[in-house]
Amino acid sequence: MPVRRLAITFAIILPLLALLAYGFFRDPRYIPSPLVGKPAPAFSLQLFSGEKIDVSALRGKVVFINFWASWCPPCIAEAKELESAWRRLKDQDVVFIGVEIQDTEANGRGFVKEFGITYPNGADPTGKIPIDYGVWGIPESFFVDPDGRIVYKHVGAIGPALVEAKSAEARRRIMTTKEGKGEYQSIR
């Protein structure tokens, strides 16, 4: 009798514990993006330089899109590294676009000046572009292949080695469904 009772108790408690454990081992804030493998949403961005850039006009090139804000520490951490990656990649048909979100344009201009960023950057005060890209964390980076398809998404600060590697993969249209996560993420 006690054996049966014990078995029943465990049969009830174990699945509940397993469910609890599954819940604890997941990051509740992490949002898996349904956009990887899908065409990159088109947008045009008014740049700080005054020019306008249109993403749909960049077919045939690898596009690296980085969403950032001046107040976000991981963005500050990755800023110089992105600039160095850009200097190495800009002659290889890779286009970098920085989209400043949830921030003021003045702060954005100050940030670009402070870190000596030379790749195209602009502010989206309406937040339409980040919503179109399902952005939830800052910074977030997207790699778009020459066919205009999102092949890789990275949440959190990204290093120059990874940017170069993923750009090379994007040129060969290799898709990584598993999203990258930077160790250093802004506190949300």
Partner: protein
């Protein structure tokens, strides 16, 4: 025993957890309106804010949530359906973004878990009840059998039991003789003991005959039977109380939790004032809006009903009081109107509608002209430029043109009223006789008040002029002139619809079936006409 306890605890937990869950389903059907702002709120309330923890887009103050709300509104204005808007966000953020995820795949477990848990609970309760019932049944039939071991030990046990029962019997006799027990208690307890002893004896004789050992008295553990029976009796009502308490807890949680976790509008309180009885801000604003709309349509009974409803929950609502005051003053009840305006101003000394209403009323009725002027100037300072402000400025300039009237107003209200009315264009009068059906004349109420009303449009609509005659003698000959105009500045001219009403209780805002009404049968009439005679008949038969 520990297993039984576990069962009970599980049952209790399940009941407490499930009741609110089940109630949520029945209570969550919310009223819907196609208004875009409200739709935006409804959609936002169903979306999870991506940068928050367990907050909806509607509730989150984060910048992303603000931008998402703007996006929802924009998409709705573009003509997208709420489902399409939600689908847009799902395509960007995945099912994650829905606070109520679709019932498929792993999520199915989430949706089914309440039902599964309920089923488990029912099964557990069923098992527990069956076990209790069986235990009681065996105890009643054979009290010793359940605890009795089998085989050779059984004989010892039974013999020991017999000895215990005998000892208890003796103890009981002793207690009874000592007067500690009543006759009835003694009879009941000894009867039960004898029954148990008989059962034990029967089992001993049924066993294979060995040498029956004499009862070993040291085995017997003397217990007080009274306490034992009392404990058993106690268990039933303890269980019942426990069950009732659990049910109450479940219901309480169900009501309070669903009240506190439902989606709320701003200004709505946590409990929806479920306990305090005051209405939440939302419905009251809606009632006020209904009243305003009714006034614009000229549907005064509807407006009065709406404002009264507001005043029952918020007796000092300045807007409802002001509108009531305006309607009262239009109906000729200056005293009531003045009280209403004063109450509105007591609640909010700068409420423009009350300032305007009281100012106009004082000015028109020849009351305190200085006060009227002060009020109207105050409201004029608050008003945006427009035709209404121009009208008000005209009135103010007329007031300053006749300072004599203002000075003498307090002493001679009649003159002031005349001079005020004089500012309206004096173009003539409407005269006639009002009579009541001969059959009804005998039953007239002495308190009845006659209202003669001239409106620029048929049916409802604000009256241009009203005359109020308390206790009229029929046939009553009347004349309506510029003096009876409701608001200064209005011109008493053109074609007017003349009606009359004999109000039984003198309050035009209430309508009693005994009220009499009538209208001139060749309406509309030109100002200046004579012999505009009206015959009053029961109001019910009149088409309003």
């Amino acid at each position: 025993m520990s297993g039984e306890k576990l069962t009970k605890i599980l049952v209790a937990l399940l009941l407490a957890l499930l009741t609110p869950h089940l109630l949520t389903y029945s209570l969550s059907a919310a009223a819907q309106a196609p208004d875009i702002e409200q739709q935006t709120h409804e959609i936002a309330a169903e979306l999870r804010c991506p940068v928050c923890q367990n907050l909806s887009v509607a509730d989150s103050p984060s910048e992303l949530a603000v931008q998402m709300r703007a996006s929802i509104e924009e998409q709705l204005r573009q003509g997208k359906s709420p489902d399409e808007v939600k689908q847009f966000f799902v395509s960007k953020y995945g099912d994650w973004v829905l606070l109520a995820p679709p019932a498929k795949g792993f999520n199915l477990l989430l949706w089914l878990s309440p039902a599964i848990a309920a089923l488990c609970g029912v099964i557990l309760v069923g098992f527990a009840i069956r076990r209790w019932a069986r235990k009681r049944a065996t105890q009643a039939a054979d009290p010793a059998a359940l605890q009795a071991p089998a085989g050779e030990d059984r004989r010892d046990f039974l013999v020991g039991e017999q000895a215990r029962l005998e000892a208890e019997m003796k103890e009981l006799d002793f207690d009874f003789q000592a007067g500690k027990l009543s006759d009835a208690d003694y009879a009941a307890l000894s009867g039960e003991l004898k029954l148990q002893a008989a059962g034990v004896a029967k089992q001993i004789t049924a066993m294979p005959q060995h040498a029956l050992q004499p009862p070993a008295l040291e085995h017997a553990k003397p217990r007080t039977t009274a306490a034992a029976t009392e404990r058993r009796g106690l268990r039933n009502w303890q269980l019942a109380t426990g069950a009732a308490f659990l049910l109450l807890l479940g219901l309480g949680l169900g009501v309070l939790l669903t009240q506190s976790v439902r989606s709320r509008d701003s200004g709505d309180t946590m409990t929806g004032d479920f306990l305090t009885g005051t209405q939440a801000a939302g419905p009251q604003e809606a009632t006020l809006a209904r009243g305003r709309a009714a006034i614009e349509k000229g549907d005064f009974p509807q407006a009065i009903e709406a404002f009264k409803q507001v005043l029952t929950s918020d007796p000092n609502n300045p807007e409802a009081l002001s509108y009531m005051g305006i309607m009262l003053s239009q109906a000729g009840h200056s005293d009531g109107a003045l009280t209403a305006f004063d109450r509105a101003l007591a609640a909010d000394p700068n409420f423009p509608l009350a300032l305007w209403g009281k100012g106009m009323l004082l000015y028109r009725s020849g009351g305190d002209q200085a006060e009227a002027r002060r009020l109207l100037e105050k409201v004029s300072g608050m008003m945006p430029a427009g035709p209404e402000k121009t009208e008000l400025e005209n009135v103010l300039s007329q007031m300053s043109q006749s300072p004599a009237a203002a000075k003498s107003a307090a002493a001679k209200p009649e003159t002031a009223a005349k001079s005020a009315a004089g500012s309206a264009t004096r173009t003539g009068q409407i005269e006639g006789i009002i009579d009541v059906d001969a059959k009804l004349k005998a039953n007239l109420d002495a308190r009845a008040v006659l209202f003669i009303i001239a409106r620029p449009s048929r049916g409802g609509g604000p009256p241009l002029a009203v005359k109020k005659i308390p206790a009229p003698k029929f046939p009553f000959s009347y004349s309506l002139s510029a003096q009876d105009v409701m608001m200064p500045g209005a011109v008493f001219s053109g074609k007017l619809y003349v009606t009359a009403r004999l109000d039984k209780d003198g309050d035009p805002l209430t309508q009693s079936p005994e009220d009499l009404a009538g209208e001139y049968n060749k309406n509309p009439v030109e100002v200046g006409s004579k012999r505009i005679d009206i015959l009053l008949a029961p109001a019910r038969s009149q088409a309003r």
